[in-house]
Assembly symmetry: C2
Homo-oligomer: 342 residues x 2
Amino acid sequence: MTNLTLALDAMGGDYGPRITVPAALQALRLYSFLNFYLVGNKTDIEKYLSQVESDVLRRIEIIHTTEVVTMSDRPAHALRNRKQSSMRLAIELVRDGKAQACLSAGNTGALMAMSKVLLKTLPGIDRPALVSCLPAVNKTPVYLLDLGANVSCCSETLFQFAVMGSVLCEAVDKNCSPKVALLNVGIEEIKGNDQVQQAGQLLQQSPQINYTGFIEGNDLFSGCVDVIVCDGFVGNITLKTSEGIARLLVHQLEKGLTKGFFVRLMAKMIAPRINSVLNQMNPDHYNGASLIGLRGIVVKSHGSADESAYLQAISLAVTEAQRRLPQMIEERLESILLDINN
Amino acid sequence: MTNLTLALDAMGGDYGPRITVPAALQALRLYSFLNFYLVGNKTDIEKYLSQVESDVLRRIEIIHTTEVVTMSDRPAHALRNRKQSSMRLAIELVRDGKAQACLSAGNTGALMAMSKVLLKTLPGIDRPALVSCLPAVNKTPVYLLDLGANVSCCSETLFQFAVMGSVLCEAVDKNCSPKVALLNVGIEEIKGNDQVQQAGQLLQQSPQINYTGFIEGNDLFSGCVDVIVCDGFVGNITLKTSEGIARLLVHQLEKGLTKGFFVRLMAKMIAPRINSVLNQMNPDHYNGASLIGLRGIVVKSHGSADESAYLQAISLAVTEAQRRLPQMIEERLESILLDINN
């Protein structure tokens, strides 16, 4: 296996090095070909490196900086004023070819702005997209994009997202012909706004994409497709709505299962099983959103990710780097556009 | 109590008169001041009227027609070609002042198109909106609009929806100062697309609306506001996503609770309680969507509504008619617009 180096914004996220460093150590033990740049405050990072075996330790290099991007920094502000931040330095390591991917659990808007400016988008891609996985009935997770990087999108952008999502699914899940759908208010061709309708027409003209048509919200989790495309406004609200309804259900179940001694007793006995099911609905268990369409790999972890969720994000970055995702997207897009133009 | 007359598209919905007529009979027994026009095939309707007590029977008038709007009729087609349909005749009864509200479980697009053309929108309202209730943690349901009547909306339209939603909540729930929020990708003022941002500014200038700012998808069900406004594209997908995730959870719970003899036994014992909780998430239990902004009351029932869900839709129509919702919206909008212009 070729050696891989990841640059980690060790300070990002709600817990900073307390989560990011132990997760990186786990990854180093898991993948013998892996190396890390841990970017952030050296003292804070080293706290979690005592008693670590030398074989693991020598695959870590700390890039010391005390500046961080805060969660309240506006993207433009972070871009102008956080030039020595752990987030920016991590992205620069990718730009400069020193790392094959970077990872942050910090401010999403700042991460997107910095990544776009420092790494640039791929030829043929106007805007990067944020993509993540949803749980689905009886199948591998479903990719949903865009999750909020672009609050309004033209049909061309939606088309590019569909291509990128399809290539991502091929690369990560080794699915050779992922089913791609556009999220819409109905499945009939006449349904939806202009952007979605025109994007549908573009996709119909692309024999290389396994485009299955429109999909409605109630089929998001049914597992009938592999990639679902929408603009970032809809995607963000859809993802957060799913979180909200899962939380409501937990609340209602807890309430419903505390009435009456017998029910309470039974509920207590099977509580671990119910919790394990509900945990599968927790987005942190499908952690790691990728910012795709850039000339480099950027993975975003949930800010409140725990160690195992953060490790999942690292694994996603590893897979994308191994498959050379940006190059795959670039080649595929080129070939698809040629197909359409001929 | 003043007498009220509702016009019912008895043929609409997946089950037609088999559900609509018994639900109407229940409503007549519940509300002594209520009368019905049952519009549809006389023979089909009368099947469900045998052995009905005369006191109830004399408050029913059947308007016979054999034409129906089918679920596959496009709105424009239904408008041009279904002039004797049960749906259209029911709306015409409202237009002609013979009924104070109409109700259909049929084709939503056709119902919207016919209602808009036959009843017209209120002065100051550009487009009607479809509004319904979501379940929420620890409180009365939350109104969400628009649910799909308008796939793209300008800021003015979103503003009008907010006013209509607020008045609806006042009228139906007797909430004297409903909290109104705009659905967005973040709660900060800089977040979102132009339409949402400008609608937010209009609402901030309206002291008569208790506008609380932006809300994210994960707070849809938290009960922190009473009315949530978005365009029909987002609203439709949000509502259907909620349906989808509830279905996924049921599936996962069923799967999770069938492994192991002991767990299976316990699960069986508390199954009724779990089911009752999950049923609360079923949109049919919050049945009845209103088409508001028109010069008449139009309530849409879910196509697959059962008798009790259809009865809820009738009750909603009764409440809206008693409170004279269209007049309330008209007066309130006029006063709010005066406030803004001064």
